[in-house]
């Protein structure tokens, strides 16, 4: 619980270096060890390449989807970490993008971070988001004969509730 007290200096620096190249990147929150930025779906691939090559974030920790049904939007959050860059092992960068709920489609980052493969497959089936460039759309965790709307959408009501 000690990390909230300190001034998030590193996070501010990282955000400044991203914003210097991509002015449309917005700051969501900056903490001592966490930084979340939001970018547009059209620029997320460039931002990711920049973050991987210039800032050294080398692998994906997880990909999370959020259904903001009141705003009619889906949010995709990529949590990226670094194993090889010294001094930043404790830092997690979250890159988020928002896409319209009616036409959920976003570029895949599988060629930038190959570890995104299964995470994107899971997000695809749980939210019905189409990842352009991902090689497969097969069901992964859900049964093969799933014929309902994707379960983690907010308008899916669990049976028994």
């Amino acid at each position: 619980m000690s990390q909230q007290v300190a001034e998030p200096k590193r996070a501010k620096e990282i955000f400044a270096s991203i914003q210097a190249v991509f002015p449309d990147a917005k700051l969501e929150y900056a903490k001592e060890r966490r930084l979340k930025i939001s970018v547009s779906p059209s620029s997320i691939r460039d931002v990711s390449k920049f973050v991987r090559d210039k800032l050294g974030f080398d692998h994906i920790s997880m990909v999370s989807g959020v259904d903001w049904i009141a705003k009619n939007q889906f949010e995709i959050v990529y949590f990226v970490e670094t194993s090889l860059k010294p001094g930043f092992e404790d830092f997690v960068l979250a890159i988020s993008e928002r896409i319209p709920r009616d036409n959920p489609s976003a570029p895949s980052l599988i060629d930038i971070w190959p570890g995104a493969d299964y995470h994107e497959r899971e997000t695809h089936e749980m939210f019905g988001i189409n990842f352009e460039g991902h090689p497969t759309t097969k069901y992964f965790l859900l049964p093969e004969d799933w014929n309902d709307i994707p379960p983690l959408r907010k308008d899916f009501i669990s049976p028994g509730r």
Binding site: M1, R34, H59, S61, P114, G115, D117, Y118, L141
Partner: protein
Amino acid sequence: MTTEVTYEPEADRIMNVALGPQHPGAGHFRIQLWLDGDYVVKAEPDPGYVHRGEEKMCEYRNYIQNVPHLERPVILDSSNILFPYALAVDELMGNKVPPRGQYLRVIMSEINRIISHMYFLGIMGMFVGHTTMTTWGMGDRDFWIDIAERIGGARVTFAYIIPGGVRNDMPEGLKERALKTCDWFEKRMDEYEKIFFKNPLYLERTENVGVLTAEDAVKYGATGTVLRASGVRKDVRKDEPYSAYEDFDFDIPVLNSGDSWARSYIALLEMRESVKIIRQAFKNMPQGQVRLKLGPQPRVPPGEVFARTEAARGEMSYHLISDGSPRPYRVKIGTPSFKNMRVLPHLLKGVHVADIPAIYWSLNYWPVEADR
């Protein structure tokens, strides 16, 4: 002339085989294999046989009701999957967990790490045909379960680490017994090393089998024992010391060979460090409260948090969003098994069929945890 006998054309030499879900080498998990004779051309994991929709269930329950079902995905490591959840809720609410509660969290987490690694080594012995390690692993695990049972009250599902601290204090007289178990277990681990890890048969079956280089491990996002066995020093306990981990003196074992043997041997090295931590924690245990009073339905202010800890298998992370209502808006669980699963098809490419069990189980893959 017509005949009922037909021959397959020569080109069809690639055979598609499903390994599991009912198979001694792949319980509740399936690997789809493409074989050319004895060699694996391509492998594709097919999880989801234990997908129970934990993340959807979280949205129907409040923050305390979520505790019992969140520990079920990885029942042999049940405190470690609750740990980041408790950290996330604490961070959102601004809870200051009392020092004794933090120490008890560390003790329970490390005991669970030993329980989980012992199960891993026991099944590893079963997979490579070393029955002694199977019976030792399953039997010795129970001594640690006994200690955890006296703290948490159940054999495997403790629901012990909760938001605001731990559920209850440890009983009287546990310290002596736990320290005695530590002494005994350290001697016991020397025997594992002699009988199992330095056994020529075991070395023959696992050395240089399924070698994962450090670059590939990082590229595919491997974590935990798999990553450290490939020579990357990364452990959340050291990198961002949560709870009271900065108070303890311990090492992060790293091996460089990246084969199945290293991935199993690192579990033994980690258990040695865990015993060290448990001993220090019992000796330096502070006095006082073990938890904050939160009430049955705590109010969590709106916000978003990403919390992670080092579970037995690797980095366990939670993405938690609260909108101010009694129930979480979104809970995403990032489990180490799911992160390590991407390594499996990479490692299985080109190996013999007989090496599949040694590679598969050396990843310490627990299907229930991956499927959630």
